[in-house]
């Protein structure tokens, strides 16, 4: 009760939320970014370390966060790229045999600022109604409301910003030792994806800016386009290289999330920004061919515009909540992709069969 550090969150529309500070001390006295929410009940560590959250402040809608601690085994990348974390209640004490440290300490180590005690339901309803919104939060001993409001207003958001450049691997590296060779573009690749691919492949991971020739040089059985943060339009450089790879002909190309969007751009389709995106582990997706429904893990603010697919691709998967395009197959190339996250991490395993499909297509 005595060591509470009062803090406030201010959104670009002027809304103020009172809370308490924890996590890392912010450079400049506050943290700012695009405020989004995630409705998953578990999996906070995977979400915080998912590079796709670069540029964003993640609000957890479930009130108790940190209950089962953290463990290196659940990291989805080498660090955390989100700008901050918003919760209702941070666990003071963790309890789980797997855990090695507390979430609060872990955030401090990773340099992620956080705020607790927030009416996250009020915040979520606001984001739902107005769309993902810039915001800033800071401890009141370092920042005041006016300063936070200005910071929120100055925050550029994620449209048009190259966030991939912040998260992609600087150097090419190898993951796993399976019999097949996969060349993967890293736009912010999650460890769960590498783990799934490593079941059957040796994955050669390339920076987002790698020219197509570098990928060709390993003579891959398949090409993988990873997930990643932000606006697909700004990774036009990758779309150009992917277009060239598609023109090669038969090598199968499989994309997930941002990889799916960049594939669509490479093929000549277009993307749109959703009002508040899909962030959660409970989204129903129908495979249009088989009728099968998978409950999927999702995290995206942009989506492929189904209206732009005419003559280019066929929509293969659809989100049953709002009819957003969740998957497509190109008409003139051996390439397909999904918007959701079949690797889970966190979330349901229902769609993991998609990795088997990739394996089978590579085997020819």
């Amino acid at each position: 009760m005595s060591n509470v550090r009062d803090a406030a969150l201010v959104l670009a529309d002027g809304s103020v939320f009172e809370g308490e500070w924890f996590g890392a001390d912010p450079a400049g006295g506050y943290a700012s970014g695009e405020v989004v929410f995630n409705t998953a009940l578990s999996g906070y560590q995977e979400i915080i370390t998912d590079p796709s959250y670069a540029g964003q402040i993640v609000t957890f809608t479930y009130p108790h966060i940190g209950n089962y601690g953290v463990t290196p085994a659940d990291d989805e990348s080498r660090s955390a790229f989100c700008r901050g974390v918003i919760v209702r209640e941070l666990a003071r004490r963790r309890s789980n045999w797997r855990s090695e440290s507390d979430l609060g300490e872990y955030l401090a180590q990773l340099g992620v600022p956080a705020i607790g005690g927030i009416d996250t339901r009020r915040l979520t309803r606001l984001i739902r109604d107005t769309g993902a919104i810039p915001g800033a939060f800071g401890p009141l001993d370092l920042a005041d409301e006016a300063m936070l409001k200005q910071a929120a207003a100055d925050e550029p958001g994620t449209a048009g910003v190259d966030l991939v450049a912040q998260v992609t691997t600087p150097e090419r590296y190898r993951y796993g030792s399976g019999p097949l060779r996969v060349a993967a573009y890293d736009f912010g690749i999650k460890t769960s994806i590498l783990e799934q691919l490593a079941d059957f492949a040796t994955v050669e991971v390339f920076p987002a800016t790698a020219p197509a020739d570098e990928l060709r040089s390993i003579d891959p059985h398949g090409i993988f386009l990873s997930n990643g943060p932000g606006d697909p339009e700004v990774v036009g450089y990758a779309a150009t290289e992917i277009r060239s790879l598609l023109d090669d002909g038969s090598t199968p190309v499989f994309g997930i999330c941002l990889g799916h969007q960049v594939l669509a751009l490479a093929a000549g389709a277009s993307t749109v920004k959703l009002p508040f995106g899909h962030h959660g582990g409970n989204h129903p997706v129908r495979d249009i061919d088989s009728g099968r429904i998978d409950i999927t893990s999702q995290n995206h603010n942009f989506a492929v515009d189904p209206g732009s697919l005419g003559g280019i691709a066929e929509m293969t998967h659809v989100n049953l909540n709002d009819d957003v395009c969740e998957g497509m197959r190109l008409l003139d190339a051996n390439a397909w992709s999904v918007q959701h996250h079949p690797e889970a991490g966190p979330g349901p395993h229902d769609a993991r069969h998609l990795f088997q499909q990739f394996k089978e297509r590579m085997q020819g």
Partner: protein, 791 residues
């Protein structure tokens, strides 16, 4: 896959009388199913022997048979009605067992007879026969506790020679864990094996390695005809393995599972429902996890809706029974809209942004002398559920919802009984599952024992204990600053941890009204949030609310005149489903008359807490503070016509005097007082010259002795404001009189302990006869004759 057109009529098997282990949750599920099947145009034939149910109201089925749920009566009904299908999965264990009897007699489920929909005989047999179930689970690669079945004591001995003691003994085909127990010695083992063999209708017991102390979880699963599976809710038990789930404090969602573990459990639940072969509908799969290394075993599966599904439905807003009925007649999950969002389909997994805590209610006080130790056999008679944004808040709300005189997790008069115990005694007691365990845990922590020590001694997860410590620490801080020094910030933090005004009043030695006034002076009022299945991701207009202490409120004003109906709280002995029946009918009648109906109740098993029943539902404790907060919020936000307190039994009657002047509809609070207060009642009888046995009213032992000096022994003692003769006693001598706990006289009385002494005469008239009583809720008398107005 749309609705099946190859069947036209469906026989629904109900669950019969309320027994321990099977209460009104099956009225809730059966009523939902009847409604759905009728809406779908099927001819619904209902068989249920319990007339106090909503589902047996004539309008819910095309033909209703109030007949014993046995083979002969069912056979006759099937001959008479010739249904195309039988739905056995919504009537609890009773309905399921009857279906199996009918199947074995060749009456249903075989060619040329009605089809079994939902679950067929093969699936029921696989889930219910312990050995088959175990083999099936091992076959799909899931772990189960090592075990074997026995049909005789000799066979039983051979089993423990192999797996050793302690073991759990579970009879096959039983309800609510009847005949189940943990045996640690050979003597215990022989006694329990014998009892178990007797309890099982097929003389079969499963003897299983004991995993007492592991963490216990449940998943509620749904499956449709196209093999789509979803989890509706995960539940974590606060009590470790060893206490029946029905007797455990349970919390939704699971709190201490990492996503990696949760997803593994989810995969296992799907594998389980597919292997057992439940084709459509809801099932419940129970798991245990070793807290040391995460080893997971499957405990059991119910191939039907259960009490946990009623809880999961109320906890998430996803109506499992209603969906199960739709799936049984051929729909797939994606073809059914989510009831709450209307725009998204039912093929999803609900997420919640609050914590739900269920606490059972027992009736050990009705059976003095019987131990109150909880075990693998269910003993609770009812339950209360509470919703809060955090676990401490929902736990404290649940404790005061029980209506056993407690205002939260201690910090009330009831905690005094623990003071006499030494630390060692207290900790030892907390290690044993009893109704008092949560209070003992709090007391341990308040005495300064560490979370680790308490966890080691009780096997209650440290996370839960740490959350309780937050309540303890807040209390200590509040005691330090005192009533006069408390700030708005302190008060808000206390309210967010679930403290009721009554607890704060106790802590500070002031009146509850003073705390309320202090709080209102700081403009500190509850906010009402919405249960919407999706953690606010989608817009939902569901009028299903709970209170919490946050920034923003979500109740919408519709502009219509509104009436609040206070419900009946948890089931108890002397109060089953009948008062819920009355409240639901009041709601229907008021809706017909053009009012907006607002229901308040905290019993998750009931039809009244179905968000479909009234225009608005508050899932809240029925206490002075909580009821008053709702009434004031309803007054402030719209046109409140009044509050009905006379249809929910004793629970709302006691609140009549708490409500703002002029809000109580029907019988006035004064008249209720005259009927319920022994002293006022006696004076009324005297004035009207109605003869009564000699007697008087006392509030302490001395007063009682004075009366007895006048009337002599034996004497009958009856408290004011109680139900079903609770705590009534015939005393034969002064020792008996002195033995009464005068200081802690049933706290259900409004204020002050009070009892009437009368010469002992056959007590045909108990305190409950003057309000709308149990007998009036049968079929023949549905008119709301609130007879308390006779006073």
């Amino acid at each position: 896959m749309p609705r099946r057109d190859d069947i036209e009529s469906i026989l629904l098997l109900g669950s019969g009388p309320i027994v321990i282990g099977q209460a009104c949750e099956f009225d809730y599920s059966g009523t939902q199913a009847c409604k759905v099947l009728a809406e779908e145009g099927y001819r619904v034939i209902l068989m249920n022997s319990n007339p106090a149910t909503i589902m047996t109201d004539p309008e819910f089925a095309d033909a209703t048979y109030v007949e014993p749920l046995d083979l002969e009566h069912a056979r006759k009904i099937i001959e008479q009605e010739q249904p195309d299908a039988v739905l056995p999965t919504l009537g609890g264990q009773t309905g399921l067992n009857l279906a199996m009897e009918l199947f074995e007699a060749g009456i249903i489920g075989v060619p040329g007879t009605p089809e079994m929909i939902g679950a067929n005989a093969e699936a029921i047999g696989t889930a219910e026969d312990r050995e088959r179930f175990k083999d099936a689970m091992v076959g799909i690669g899931l772990d189960v506790p090592s075990s074997a079945t026995a049909h005789t004591l000799d066979e039983a001995h051979q089993v423990i020679d192999r797996i050793g003691l302690p073991v759990v003994i579970r009879p096959a085909y039983i309800l609510g864990g009847k005949g189940t127990g943990i045996a640690s010695t050979v003597e215990e083992f022989e006694r329990m094996a014998h009892l178990g063999l007797e309890a099982s209708p097929i003389s079969e017991i499963l003897i299983e390695e004991s995993i007492k102390g592991w963490k216990e979880y449940e998943l509620e699963v749904m499956r449709d005809r196209a093999d789509n599976c979803v989890i509706i809710c995960s539940i974590e038990n606060l009590d470790p393995m060893g206490v029946h789930t029905g007797d455990s404090i349970t919390v939704a969602p699971a709190q201490t599972l990492s996503d990696v573990e949760y997803q593994k459990m989810r995969d296992a639940a799907f594998a389980c429902i597919r292997r057992v072969g439940v084709e459509t509908g809801g099932s419940n799969v129970q798991f245990a996890i070793n807290p040391e290394n995460g080893d997971m075993v499957v405990i059991e599966m119910n191939p039907r809706v259960s009490r946990s599904s009623a809880l999961a439905s109320k906890a998430t807003g996803f109506p499992i029974a209603k969906m199960a009925a739709k799936l049984a007649v051929g729909y797939t999950l994606d073809e059914i809209p989510n009831d709450i969002t209307k725009k998204t389909p039912a093929s999803f997994e609900p997420v919640i942004d609050y914590v739900v805590t269920k606490v059972p209610r027992w009736a050990f006080e009705k059976f003095p002398g019987q131990g109150d130790v909880l075990g693998t056999s269910m003993q609770s008679v009812g339950e209360a559920m509470a919703i809060g944004r955090t676990f401490p808040e929902s736990l404290q709300k649940a404790m005061r919802s029980l209506e056993q005189g407690r205002h939260g997790l201690n910090c009330d008069r009831g905690e005094v009984q623990l003071e006499a115990l030494s630390d060692d005694e207290l900790l030892a007691k907390a290690g044993i599952g009893t109704p008092d365990r949560p209070f003992q845990l709090e007391a341990c922590l308040r005495r300064g024992m560490s979370v680790d020590d308490v966890a080691a001694a009780t096997k209650v997860d440290p996370w839960f204990l740490d959350q309780m410590s937050r309540i303890v620490e807040e209390r200590s801080h509040l005691a330090e600053v005192g009533f006069l020094g408390v700030t708005r910030r302190d008060l808000r933090r206390a309210k967010r941890l679930g403290f009721g005004d009554a607890q704060l009043a106790y802590l500070w030695g002031v009146d509850e009204a003073d705390v309320r006034a202090r709080r209102l002076a700081d403009d500190l009022r509850p906010t009402y949030k919405t249960v919407d299945t999706c953690a606010a991701e989608f817009d939902a207009q569901t009028p299903y609310h709970y209170s919490t202490w946050e920034d923003s409120d979500e109740v919408v004003d519709t502009g219509r005149p509104r009436v609040v109906i206070l419900g009946s709280g948890p089931n108890r002995i002397g109060q089953g489903i009948e008062f819920d029946y009355c409240c639901v009918h009041a709601s229907f009648a008021l809706a017909d008359a053009g009012y907006e109906t607002v229901m308040v109740n905290c019993n998750p098993e009931t039809v009244s807490t179905d968000y479909d029943t009234s225009d608005r539902l508050y899932f809240e404790p029925l206490t002075h503070e909580d009821a008053l907060n709702i009434v004031e919020a309803e007054q402030a936000s719209g046109n409140l016509v009044g509050v009905i307190v006379s249809l929910g039994g004793q629970t709302p009657l006691k609140l009549a005097n708490s409500l703002p002047e002029g809000t109580v509809l029907g019988t006035s609070p004064h008249s209720i007082d005259v009927a319920e207060d022994r002293d006022l009642w006696n004076r009324l009888c005297a004035r009207l010259e109605i003869p009564q046995p000699a007697g008087g009213t006392a509030t302490d032992l001395a007063g009682a002795r004075q009366i007895v000096d006048r009337i002599g022994f034996p004497a009958l003692l009856r408290p004011s404001y109680v139900l079903g003769g609770r705590a009534m006693e015939i005393v034969y001598d002064d020792a008996g009189l002195a033995r009464r706990p005068w200081r802690n006289w049933p706290a259900s009385g409004r204020s002050g302990a009070k009892a009437a002494c009368r010469p002992s005469v056959p007590c045909s008239s108990t305190g409950s006869s003057r309000r709308r009583s149990r007998s009036t809720s049968t079929r023949s008398a549905i008119t709301p004759a609130t007879s308390s107005s006779a006073a």
